[in-house]
Symmetry: C2
Subunit: 345 residues, 2 copies
């Protein structure tokens, strides 16, 4: 279902304006954002991935025009468009190399077709990097010098921003923090990418439910086991609910994921030393507003603090991300702004 | 013992000139470097750490003047000075926070005292980052878009350069790649920093000799055991010699260190995706010129290739560093050049 929001009144927006597009397997979000990072208008519509990339590119171009006309500016007043896409990407070619939830889109000239439909130059970025730039620009790391964002969902995505540099990598594979090796042992869990021991194999929704299912299959009882036996589906939401009720399996699996996240975060801190490490995505259990979200973050911090240098334990901010699901579109607009100002491609 | 070299004739040097200082526990190296990264003159003298930091700062200032007068330019013709120092540092304050091989130097205003003695602004950097910038500018990563340098010596140092950004970190702790966690298990080896499971605990000269000593103590025989029983000291050089002769312990320890390096490098590749990963420092076993050096690198590449994505395995260059012991001074001059050109502090 499409949805629209108009936010900051145009009269108060700082020029120039930028458009950000966040392409996902389910929805395409688009935002018209002013020079200070305030959202002037927002739009969301289904991706309809099966209709193919040319159809989506045309709709993304139309969405940019619709946002502009909705607030009463000409499309030509938009300085540049940013497009965040699931990856891995070929940033130079402007194409998707392989995206699990957009089957058949590989190799399609996505960046250039969106640019053609929008009538405007497009900055192309990995969706996780775009979200990280959004958090860096106007979210949880606003005003900080650097950020690592881990996006916890079906997988574990990453985005690294240092100063105004979006760490895209020399081969478009930068910031794939979910594929850092946290467990080198022969008994390591397998990541969906096919390699063993990656952070994603221990801290994604997929791996959490798999770990819980293994314990239930081994006969460990409790309220989670009862709920599943009664027909409820084993999801991260169910795990969070049962963890709150004190179920041993659910609580244990969440705390174990938090421990592995702490290990991965320490390696990132010792390699990059960011000002802020933010955790976003759906698998954050209500964040600071919910006891399970607070316990999850506390366990992550505890593991980091016992494994890092005292100065970093004291000074590095480890927190939940602030922009929620809008980070990708806002960040894509921010990357367009960076490119427009000549900082990057 | 002090030593001097004059290299590129001044008439062929591209202006402006920069001076680079590489402060070590044993020696202070200084280089006069032209705008293209060619060394015009080089000087090395003992650090005499016990004489204290003010004495060394004065000699570093004099070394800059001596380099200038040796090639016949005024000290005022040097645009800026770069200073690489063992860390961790407080880059903002220009001080050493804690350096094992410069006891008692903590908190001394090193950057500003060298600037005062040299009569020139000084760019202050971690020594491993300075070496990485040297390799990026005119060494093994010349012309590449990014570099991770691992310096294998008594410890494992790191330097990360992305574009023209030296990853110093938000709290002066960036690029401490030797302290990434490669082994999270309770049985992990202890790093000299006091934390378990760090790369340095598996791939430094200290850890290699410790691992070999453990096997000898457990009674594993061979030519290494015989050499040590005959009174030879257990050093990485002895390990390399005996590995070449086919000793099982020596060969096994080297290959194991290479395996751990491969694991750490994969995590760095998946977080940063550099164009080049270079290995420098004393513990590189003759590098490409020696069979043990070649076998060590081949084992690292093998571990990386079996654990990374095919595209990165194919395209990421994993090689030995090219500048040897001069990288720190050249890179410090390069960072001074960056600062002079306004790219960084």
């Amino acid at each position: 279902m499409a949805s629209d929001r108009t936010l900051l009144p145009l009269a108060r927006a700082r020029q120039p304006l930028y458009a950000g597009l966040d392409l996902g397997g389910t929805n395409i979000k688009s935002a018209l954002v002013d020079d200070a990072g305030d959202v002037v208008a927002f739009h969301s519509e289904p991706t309809h991935a099966s209709r193919g990339p040319e159809d989506a590119a045309a709709r993304m171009g139309r969405a940019v025009h619709a946002l502009a006309s909705r607030v009463g500016v000409a499309a030509a007043d938009i300085a540049r468009v940013g497009l965040g896409s699931p990856g891995p990407l070929d940033l130079e070619a402007g194409t998707i190399v392989r995206a699990g939830n957009l089957p058949g889109w590989d190799g399609f000239p996505l960046r250039d077709r969106v640019a053609s439909h929008a009538g405007c130059a497009v900055t192309f970025a990995n969706d996780a990097n775009a979200a990280a730039y959004g958090e860096f620009w106007v979210g949880s790391a606003r005003g900080a010098s650097s950020l690592v964002l881990l996006t916890l969902g079906t997988g574990v995505g990453g985005g690294i921003i240092i100063g105004d540099v979006n760490v895209e990598g020399a081969h478009s594979h930068g910031s794939e923090c979910g594929h850092m090796i946290v467990d080198p042992s022969p008994a390591a869990r397998m990541c969906p990418c096919g390699q063993p021991g990656h952070l994603e194999a221990y801290a994604s929704a997929t791996s959490l439910t798999a770990m819980a299912a293994e314990q239930l299959a081994a006969g460990v009882g409790g309220t989670l086991a009862e709920a599943v036996a009664a027909g409820e589906q084993l999801t991260p939401i169910l795990l969070a609910r049962e963890a709150e009720r004190g179920d041993r399996v659910a609580h244990g699996v969440l705390m174990d994921a938090a421990r592995w996240l702490g290990i991965g975060i320490v390696s990132l801190m010792h390699a990059i030393d960011p000002a802020v490490v933010a955790l976003g995505g759906a698998m954050t259990f209500g964040r600071d507003d919910h006891p399970v979200g607070r316990a999850f973050l506390a366990r992550i911090r505890d593991e980091v603090h016992r494994r890092t240098f005292p100065l970093l334990a004291e000074r590095t901010s480890i927190c939940y991300a602030g922009l929620g699901g809008d980070a990708g579109a806002i960040g894509a607009a921010g990357l367009a702004r960076l490119a427009h100002r000549g900082h990057s491609g």
